[in-house]
Every structure is written in C-alpha cells, then in structure tokens.
C-alpha cells in the first residue's frame, strides 16, 4: 500500500497501513494523540472533531487516505497543561467542562469559530456547536466559555492595534 503523509499539528506524519483506517484510529493508536475522543462513531455526537485544513470534521467518518497531504489539527495543538490556550482557559474559568468526553471536540469546533472571528452572540455559538453533543448537558457553560474566549480575543486584538 502506498505511503501517506499528513501534516498533524504542524509535524509531518507518515502512515503506511490500510487506507480506510479511520482517521481517529490513526491519530490515537498510531501516533498516540489520545486527546481526540470517540463518542458514537457515527457522526452524530462530534466528540471526535478535529480540524481538516482548518475546518471541523468528524474524524470517525474520515478514511485516513482522505486526509493525505492535508493539514490535521487535534486538541493537542491547542495548549499544554502548563501553557493553556486562551480558549482552554475560558473553559476552565467558565466551567465549560464536566465529564470531559465532549470537551476536545467542543474545543476544536469552538477554536475554528473563534479563529474565523465568530461573534459572542449565544445563538450564533449554539448554531456553530450544534454538531457537538454534551451528555452532561452543560451547554450554557460551554456557550459562556466560547463567548468569553471571543471577547478576550477581541480585547487583545484591540490592544494590539492601539
């Protein structure tokens, strides 16, 4: 089988297994990136969300060959325990995580949203996160977290312009 290469969190990764292995399995099992979680395995819950060329996708529905030559970002790209990304800080201070299974997927969808300049309007955030389910039903705090990250980014961009 032909060797595939993907750019994962900025690093070139090579893969030479079966082309139809799910992207989530290659991330977790071949490369040890276990931050990405599996929920339903059917594209319903969004727990396995990663960014493919910057856009949120369900990694359980992507054969690894469809990610060949493309850019993949997982929750490991966000921050480390010692140096959290602003979005992660917002989830921490606003109580955006409960059991934690949906959190990596929530963070990735929210990250793409914040990066593209999404607004802090709760309705807009809820529409954007509609493909990510939280079985603890902690939606209000998740929406608050994302809104807080949006406002923080806006403030820091305004400060830079000054």
């Amino acid at each position: 089988m032909k060797r595939l290469s993907l750019r994962v969190n900025g690093t070139l990764q090579r893969y030479d297994g079966p082309p139809f292995t799910r992207l989530i399995d290659v991330l977790r099992e071949d490369w040890g990136l276990t931050g990405t979680k599996e929920g339903c395995g059917e594209g319903e819950c969004g727990a396995c969300t990663v960014l493919l060329d910057g856009k949120p996708v369900n990694s359980c529905l992507i054969p690894v060959c469809h990610a060949a030559g493309r850019k993949v970002q997982t929750v490991e790209a966000l921050g480390t325990p010692g140096k959290l990304a602003a979005l992660q800080e917002a989830f921490l201070t606003e109580g955006g995580a409960q059991c934690g299974i949906c959190t990596p997927g929530m963070l990735m969808t929210a990250w793409a949203y914040v990066k593209k300049g999404g607004s802090d309007d709760p309705g807009a955030i809820r529409r954007e996160l509609a493909g990510n389910l939280c079985r603890c039903t902690g939606y209000q705090h998740i929406v608050n977290s994302v809104a807080s990250a949006v406002r923080k980014q806006r403030r820091s961009r305004a400060a830079k312009r000054r």
Binding site: G46, C60, E128
Partner: protein, 279 residues
Amino acid sequence: MTLLRPRSAAEALKLYAQSPGALPLAGGTDFMVAWNAGLANDRVVLDLAGLEAWRRIAATKTTITIGALATHADIQRHTAVRRHLPLLVEACAMVGGLQIQNRGTLGGNIANASPAGDTFPPLAVYDAEVELASARGRRRVPFGSVFAGVKKTVLEPGELIAAIHVPVPRRPTRALWRKVGTRAAQAISKTMAAGLLWLARDGTIAELRFALGSMAPTVRRLASVEAHVKGRRPDRELAREAAALVARDVAPIDDIRSTAEYRLAVSQNLLASFLTRET
C-alpha cells in the same frame, strides 16, 4: 476491500463500467457509518475524492449548476446560490452539524435517497434536474423522478450523479423552508416543507410550488394542492381547502420519530399558514 481511486471523471466512469457493483464514495458521511459497521468489507469502493471538477458550483443568468461533490458547506457559501436559492442554503445549514456539512456532498445526499433528505424539498420546488453520467454518456432526470423509493434511485449500473442543475427562479412573493424535528440540529425530520409562492397583481395566486419531505417514501410535490390554488386568493378558506388536499399526495407513516397523524396535521398547518402568510 478493493479501492479504486480515479483522478478524473472519465477514468471514474470507465472504472465504474468495469465494476458496476462498486460502492461510490463521496464525502463518506453515510458510507463510513456502513464501513465502520463492517458492511462494506468485501466490496469494491470507487473513491470519487480525486474528481475536483465535480465539486465546482457555476452560475449563469439562467442556471446554477452544483457539482455532485460540492459539500453542504460549499453550497451555503456560494454567492449566487445564496441570492437565488435561499431555501437550499437554509436546508444545507440544517444537515447534521457543521462537521457533516463540511464533508457531506449534495450528490451523496441524493444518491443515498433517504425519505428525510433535507435538501430534497427545496430542490423539488426549484425544479432541479439531476445530471447522470456513465461511460455510455449523460442524461438528465427531473428531480422528482430521480428517486425510486426508500433509499432507491433510478440510477443504472455504472451511472454516477455528476451535477444538479437548478433554473434560476424569478423572485417569489414569498418562500418557506421549515424542518420539524425533535431538535434543531442533527435530528432527522418528522416532516419538512419547502414552498414558493408567486402572486399576480390582482392578489390571486399565479403559481404555488410546495413540497414535503419525510411524508412519503420519496420527496413529494403537492400536485393536487398546486393545481387547486391557482388563480384563487390566498385566504383562510383556500388554506382550509388546500390543507384538506394534502393527504392526496403523501403517505406518511408511524415510525420511531413521529406518527402519521402528527406528520399530516403539522404539514397541513405549515401549508395553510404559508398560504395565509401566518408563518
């Protein structure tokens, strides 16, 4: 599993002619669920990911052509689609969540032929045509004739959906898209309605196009209703008459998501309130 990975449409059609039992793969949002369940293990898979040309959306003054491999996200972003086919844009925004919209394709949605396909009622009222391609040539099928039943299409062996052609409609007096489900996103609908209405200068109905999804094995235009209301004033009495005719063109069922009775009642109400402008 044998994987075929053509780099062009011509190559794909040739390979499909040679292996008509192959499973075409587009965005994979339905296919991968079957694959993950082990249902495609012994099959030949025709991966269409290399057919960039089939992902394009092109607009002229009279027609918008959406390549079969355009994703629901591509469709929502396209300027001409947003201007002329807003019901299709709204429907694409309700397919699954963002993750599914970024991968799932319009051609794949049609090929899977779910009775609950979100994009179907809009395509039905926009009088879309589906362009089918095979190694033997191409043909166009009116949107309403592409489905043969639940999860069945009229595609022949070796035939792929190449594009969807939508005539640019004249601006309607009013338009409706409504998906009724348990939840705004991710949910499969109980019923869905798309409507376009043109009033004449004297206030009578020049044309109504109204389609329902999840109300029959395939999407249905309400031919009896459309014919009945023509030339009439869209008042409450007409709305009552029209609602009474809905059952002629649909065949709702009881299932895990809803009941036939509820589906029919809600669909009738959607039609009646659209006609009398109460939505």
